[in-house]
Symmetry: C2
């Protein structure tokens, strides 16, 4: 059998996360690698109650085919929550329910990207986005992130000579860096993109998880139809349900619906109905508050342990929410090399390389603090500190 795959497959790497899985599957390994919510945060009993209720009330319609756009009351709930949180007015018709926000990115890429099109991403960028975009063979242009958001000067320079289809951005508690764009940065960014007729694809899975500082509204609030907003129930209810959504202007939504229908007809009805029932019968804000208290404690504790066990030359971000810290090793030290050594000491993280396009042996790495308890955090950070020191002295 002689197989010839599509050209696009050459541009897509196997996810690095899958490679790391090989290390973390060993139960003795302490892992800060994944991006998993803490399972104790899942509203298990409430989901049980909601499931029973909805199956009894409307079982046969839940098990039947649904509409491509998704369950209208759920879309209405999402629209109302945007209004409540930010005064952002969204018509439920502008919301499409997807299998997690990952699928929304795939559908958007399908609808918008031609081979060779310029597409802006952050530097560093969410690796799942790099993978997903790469299937459509765009020319990925990286925009450096500063502590307060996008480096506007270099973006402005890029826009003088390029016409990107869109900018894929995670402005709040960015994955992997944990950084958040300031309000000022958001305003300037919105102005710049709008002037140059560039859409913003704003991925926002983490903003509900703010445990410090002031909430900053999504950039969509100031970009109108230029803003495409992705959201998800994965980090606030359950990722196993695979429920995300995309908010887009009607003209774009038309194309997304066609793409969604060809991709898988519609999103799982069962999950949509169960989660909707959960949402209307419970206080989501109170639930999120509990998650935030938990994550704040883990984050604070990990910061303390890093102070105690890491050499002072390692710079680590101080997140105000979300799930990740971002560490920078002294110049010339490769986090890939560190990963290899750390694996031998049975501790794992994600090295920076897969978050960049065409850069290798970078000194940065991502640490997740949501899915380990304090005992594991102390032991893991201690082991990692030792390995870093060994590597620095080598």
């Amino acid at each position: 059998m002689k197989l010839i795959f599509a050209e696009r497959m050459k541009y897509v790497k196997k996810s690095f996360i899958r490679e790391i899985l090989k290390i973390t599957q060993n139960p003795e390994v302490i892992s800060f690698a994944g991006g998993l919510p803490n399972p104790s945060s899942f509203p298990l009993e409430e989901i049980e109650t909601a499931t029973q209720k909805i199956l009894e009330k409307d079982g046969r319609s839940i098990l039947q085919y649904g509409t491509t756009e998704g369950y209208l009351p759920l879309r209405t709930y999402i629209a109302e929550r945007y209004d409540k949180r930010f005064g952002l007015k969204i018509n439920p018709e502008e919301i499409l329910i997807t299998n997690g926000s990952q699928q929304a990115l795939d559908l958007l890429s399908k609808a918008l990207i031609n081979e060779g099109d310029d597409v802006l991403i952050e530097r560093p960028a969410y690796l799942g986005a790099i993978q997903s975009l790469s299937f459509y063979q765009p020319n990925l242009l990286s925009v450096t992130l500063n502590d307060d958001g996008v480096d506007l000067e270099s973006l402005a320079k890029l826009l003088e000579t390029h016409q990107p289809k869109f900018f894929y951005s995670v402005p709040t508690f960015q994955n992997p860096s944990g950084l958040t764009y300031s309000l000022e940065n958001r305003k300037e960014l919105a102005k710049l993109l709008t002037q140059h007729n560039v859409l913003l694809v704003e991925d926002d899975p983490y903003s509900e998880l703010r445990f410090l500082g002031e909430e900053i509204p999504p950039i969509k609030c100031i970009m109108g139809d230029y803003g495409i907003l992705l959201g998800s129930f994965s980090k606030i209810v359950s990722p196993g349900m695979r429920l995300g959504w995309v908010v887009a202007a009607p003209e774009i939504m038309d194309k997304l619906i066609i793409a969604k229908q060809a991709a898988d007809l519609h999103t799982n009805n069962f999950s949509q109905r169960v989660v909707y029932q959960y949402l209307i019968d419970n206080d989501l804000d109170a639930h999120i508050e509990k998650i935030k208290v938990m994550y704040k404690a883990r984050c604070t504790f990990m910061s303390e342990m890093i102070k105690q066990y890491f050499p002072p030359e390692v710079k680590v971000t101080q997140p105000e929410g979300g799930m990740f810290m971002w560490a920078t090793l002294p110049d010339g030290i490769s986090s890939m090399k560190l990963m290899e050594l750390a694996a031998m000491e049975k501790v794992a993280f994600v090295p920076g390389d897969p978050f960049y396009v065409n850069e290798i042996n970078v000194p940065t790495l991502r640490l997740n603090y949501t899915n380990s308890d304090n005992v594991l955090i102390e032991e893991g950070i201690k082991r990692l500190g030792t390995v870093i020191k060994t590597l620095m002295n080598a």
Copy 2:
């Protein structure tokens, strides 16, 4: 705002089914248009029991992220069922769980099709496949279907001058025609495709629903690694769960897994676990038997009503299973025109046009018999017969 969509969007039409929905949303309309299972066939109570059991037993792991490949015990169950039904040996590693088999087709197209590649489809073909394939801009080549399967002579001729990537086929109770390839036809087809190094993508959502005649094994049984087999729980358990799968050789599976991860990380965990629990706690064969008794009765009754109310010039297939009948009007009579007139009489079906590439005003049409009771079947067929006669006399 100036939007430029991807080129591929020009090749994809809005699904015709969505257009028909506008007619069928009127509750007074009798619809034979959809491809919906009868909701009374859903094992509602058993699903309730399974859901409660699995949430209590393993709730937090169900709500967490899962693996891209899908839940291993479910994949093992599927493999064992192929062995039991056909003696077909499949390694669970060769099975990927997808959001219905529709997604499997999208992932396969992504992995295999370059713009301009030849791809074989049936004539007529499943319209969701035409839509899904079109996103990858192949050159679609239609192979005529005869009563016993593919027209092998014209296929052989095509293969002299073309090198298609694959043949997308629904060999058992085909959608839309309801036709089934004979065993002899399958053998010849397998030989022809293998000789020419053409993969077969064999979509098999209906074969469990055989209520007449002898079971015929999937072509995969004789094609080995050249055969890619799609399956689904939509027609035998529940379509709202969006659970399908693809069986493919390891080399192809590698690419599908990368594509699946970029598309949506993994299929809904909740549905996978609930359906698996349902499957191991219940007798699936007994459940399917009940569906078959119901569908056979509907099918037989619709045939009788057609004999009674349609003019004898209309030729209608006699399905041995599945969900559809296929009618051919006298030459020169357009089923699109018929649809317009039928809408005024409040009866709906799917006209043939969307099942063909580049053919319009065809005289064929699809009738679904699974989702209407006898009262509606009689009244709907009666109305349709009257409209056909009016059109024939016009």
